[in-house]
């Protein structure tokens, strides 16, 4: 079998994403971890694009690599944290048990994927999806239009709920990080 472009792209992206994920977990310096995480998000956006999810790929770059990681880096640099100090560990064997539990989790998910693959055939193309794609191609409707249609019809209440959730998040952050009035007058800067 000859190596095609998409196969090579998949393996390269998968290798980079796994490597950067290890970098996030293993690196002592949180700034480096954050930068590894940015690369990981970009790799995932490439994987989304390879699976025909263009909207999500763009949102991944904008929301995750753009907004969320800037917030992370901002807080890391605001708090000016160094690496973790190698002090005595109050939880004995935390690393060992953590890795062990992780391996158990991986085995469990692997078993689930295996059973899904054999039972319902995850690789089989669903006829409904194929039919919708065919209709969309016929009527010259693009995929973002279909997703927007679904959001504002089938999922309109969850969509409105997310706006409420974001509002609650904004109010919560303001209340959490607001300085007390007394300290404002002493410091002189809000």
């Amino acid at each position: 079998m000859t190596m095609r472009g998409d196969v090579i792209l998949f393996w390269v992206t998968a290798a980079i994403s796994v490597g950067t994920a290890f970098g996030v977990v293993l690196h002592r310096n949180p700034v480096r971890s954050a930068l590894f995480l940015v690369i990981n998000f970009i790799c995932l956006a490439v994987l989304y694009l390879m699976q025909n999810a263009q909207v999500l790929a763009v949102l991944q770059i904008l929301v995750y690599a753009g907004a969320i990681m800037v917030l992370f880096l901002f807080v890391i640099m605001l708090l000016n944290l160094g690496g973790e100090m190698a002090t005595a560990d109050p939880l004995v064997g935390q690393r060992f048990v953590g890795v062990l539990l992780g391996l158990a989790l991986l085995l469990g998910i692997g078993w689930a994927i295996n059973s899904v693959g054999t039972q319902t055939g995850a690789n089989a193309v669903n006829t409904i999806a194929a039919g919708r794609a065919a209709i969309a191609a016929q009527q010259n409707v693009t995929q973002p239009q279909l997703i927007g249609w679904d959001i504002f019809t089938k999922y309109v209440y969850p969509f409105e709920l997310t706006s409420f959730l974001l509002l609650v998040g904004v109010i919560g952050v303001i209340i959490l990080t607001k300085r007390q009035p007394a300290t404002v007058t002493i410091d002189g800067n809000p």
């Binding site: 998949f10 390879m50 995850a122 409904i128 919560g172």
Partner: protein, 100 residues
Amino acid sequence: MAIPSTYYLALSAILFTIGAVGVLTRKNPIVIFMCIELMLNAVNLTFITFSRSQGFDGQIFALFVMTVAAAEVAVGLGIIVSIFRQRHNIDVDEVSLLKG
């Protein structure tokens, strides 16, 4: 449609596991948050992989996961900043008492 869905699912499982191990072993809460983001992204990859064969619902779920992640990061980092103001140390082993 060349690469089977199973490969994407396996990659997602590996990324999720790495994130989970990070949450279990790291002590810096900011890094723990990043590992949670890693796990959420792995779940998004699974959603999008299934939306390839099952319609657009998976992609819309992934969109909701992104908004929830954004709100969660904002609130979580706010909590970390306010803990840092009180204690000047955010190591999760040090901040293990539910006392102000």
